[in-house]
Symmetry: C2
Subunit: 376 residues, 2 copies
């Protein structure tokens, strides 16, 4: 089963290294997907995103249906052609926006109805419309089912309702999607931080049957420890032979701990958003270039990261750009952070293939230790 | 005389095509210099600036002395190393800022004293300090004399005072600069739109003797026609065997008309500033990508311009980026506009070498005609 073959090449503990073979190219896993919310990975050209090593990017159904409009993207040849990204694209279904835009949303059995934050216009997002937008109009390679993601904390009753609505919406998405050879449909596990609900959600997803399985509803405020605890059981409930995708996660440490628990795919706005605010990740931890301690620091951000930001510029220059409010600061730090994330994924894949993931994980924690220390 | 040989390879009417041979590389003239006010050409990496064909960029003394500070740039190895631009750099002296920041400035015979718009701190800019900052601390290749640039309109008395102060400041700059083998000092002609004053200014500049001569105090509100009228005489007052640099100019049509009157070098923030506001130049005139008429226009900005903006993206996508407030819009349009400006300079150089500049100029006007037409 599954539109795209998923070959697991190596296992090391719960961690897996594999390749998802899509009709637009291979995706090495564990994979990090840069987020191109509105058809652009913020501040970067697609060439720059490719140069970081990214093999797949993410687009957002709700943002794109509001602007420029899904029918318009279709008339312009689909999202790949429109945005100039010719490798695989995964589109989020809108479940996260149903939560984050909840004040503008009304959710019923049939669909979510919401007002555009741009112009107040009224829009309907049903499972069938979500599939039409993602699969037919945008032309996504990996289509996500429409789901309801609840904020944290949620009561067990509320989380249970949401997962059951998500399961019913998922079955309708599957029916609307049908069988396709060059596109895949992923289901989304919900259930907040309740093991029994994560189990129930998984059972219903497997009953419907998808090409891949996402873990939704985490990284919504529960914190790193609680997320790891949920992942301890949540990942294992999902089929071992299909890709597992942890949605909207996260910091580098979250990626390492997710991979350790059997997750294959991640996406997050953090590397680009934090980059626009002066933050950069390095193998020695994260730093904020606003700090005056970098004003005369001639060293590169991270000499181990193959990116123009480290190759051509010093921390002192990046500090100056951040302090001066130069757009280039956001460009270079977003670019660097995505390159760091891709380098992290590549190192994890290599460690898994070489049977030394646990050692890599310990070393990563040790390298980060200096910045994890809190003042007493 | 002159630190850098200036070889005029071809003349066509008053237009000249040549090469200024600096110790950091050749500059083909007529040349357009992108402006890197604070050590960065706004929104672009130095690689991207180089890719447009730029052979020299401009830095700004007043901006850099305020942030990050000239002594700091010196400790970081000079402006080339700090900003990652290893080709020639010309630094503006601060004359234009003396005008534009006039509310914060107090000008005396000895120096200009001003308050920093960043933090209110008090700074002094004398001819000697301007040379120290540009030549010794930033390490500029082409150093501009400190001058006083008057706003337009100015009375003949006021314009005369300013040019005479500029002449005295210029002589002090020359004395402070001394003789250097790997750096050049340019004088600046002032005199507003008064031919007699432009003549007087030029005579005094020639008496002092510089490696190149700039025309300052134009493009300050007088308009294209008045600027062309002033250039009709102003350029001819300057030595024919040294480069002539028209400061702060301009639109593509200004560059063509400047070259037609014997100008060799230009700089302007317009291509990058307008790019950040959605405006793009093409061989058919300028367009604003905000306009809804581009919403489904699949054609590139200008297929004749070798730039990622036209190679990888459509006007429809650029329109979407502008409407969505994406940083990438400013990046791509700034990049495109600089590539267009460099292509324009290259076409002018070629036309001059081939003895058909007048035909090129007529063709350029004809191509622009559709957007020059005003509604009746």
């Amino acid at each position: 089963m599954g539109a795209f073959p998923y070959l697991i090449k190596a296992k090391d503990g719960a961690a897996r290294a594999g390749v998802l073979k899509t009709s637009r190219g291979d995706i090495q896993t564990p994979a990090f997907m840069p987020v191109g919310t509105a058809g652009a990975v913020k501040a970067l050209t697609m060439d720059q995103v490719r140069a970081t090593g990214a093999q797949i990017i993410l687009g957002n159904t709700v943002h794109l249906m509001l602007r420029p409009g899904a029918e318009r993207v279709a008339r312009l040849g689909g999202l790949h052609r429109f945005g100039g990204w010719h490798d695989p694209i995964l589109t989020d279904s809108g479940g996260f926006q149903i939560m984050s835009l909840s004040k503008l949303m009304k959710i019923g059995e049939e669909a979510a109805v919401f007002a555009s934050p741009i112009d107040g216009s009224r829009h309907l997002l049903s499972p069938e419309r979500s599939i039409e937008i993602q699969a037919d109009l945008l032309g996504s390679d990996i289509v996500m089912q429409l789901d309801e993601c609840v904020a944290w904390p949620a009561s067990e009753d509320r989380a249970g309702e949401a997962l059951r609505l998500s399961a019913r919406w998922g079955a309708r998405c599957k029916a609307a999607f049908g069988e396709r050879e060059t596109q895949a449909l992923f289901g989304i596990q919900q259930g907040s931080t309740f093991a029994a609900l994560r189990r129930e959600s998984s059972d219903r997803l497997i009953e419907t049957g998808y090409d891949g399985y996402a873990i939704g509803g985490l990284a919504v405020g529960e914190g790193h420890e609680a997320m790891c605890e949920a992942l301890d059981y949540a990942a294992g409930f999902l089929p071992a032979d299909r890709p597992r995708y942890l949605m909207g996660v996260g910091k580098p440490i979250d990626l390492v701990e997710g991979v350790a628990r059997g997750v294959d795919m991640f996406d997050c706005v953090l590397p680009t958003r934090a980059g626009r605010h002066g933050q950069a990740w390095t193998w020695a931890g994260s730093i904020n270039l606003k700090s005056a301690r970098f004003a005369e620091d001639e060293t590169p951000l991270d000499g181990d990261i193959d990116c123009v930001a480290s190759r051509d510029y010093s921390k002192a220059y990046l500090h100056h750009l951040v302090k001066s409010g130069e757009i280039l600061a956001g460009v270079l730090l977003s670019w660097h952070n995505l390159a760091f994330y891709q380098a992290l994924m590549a190192r994890m894949r290599k460690a898994i293939r070489e049977g030394r993931f646990e050692s890599f994980r310990r070393g990563f924690h040790a390298g980060l230790a200096p910045v994890e220390v809190k003042p007493a």
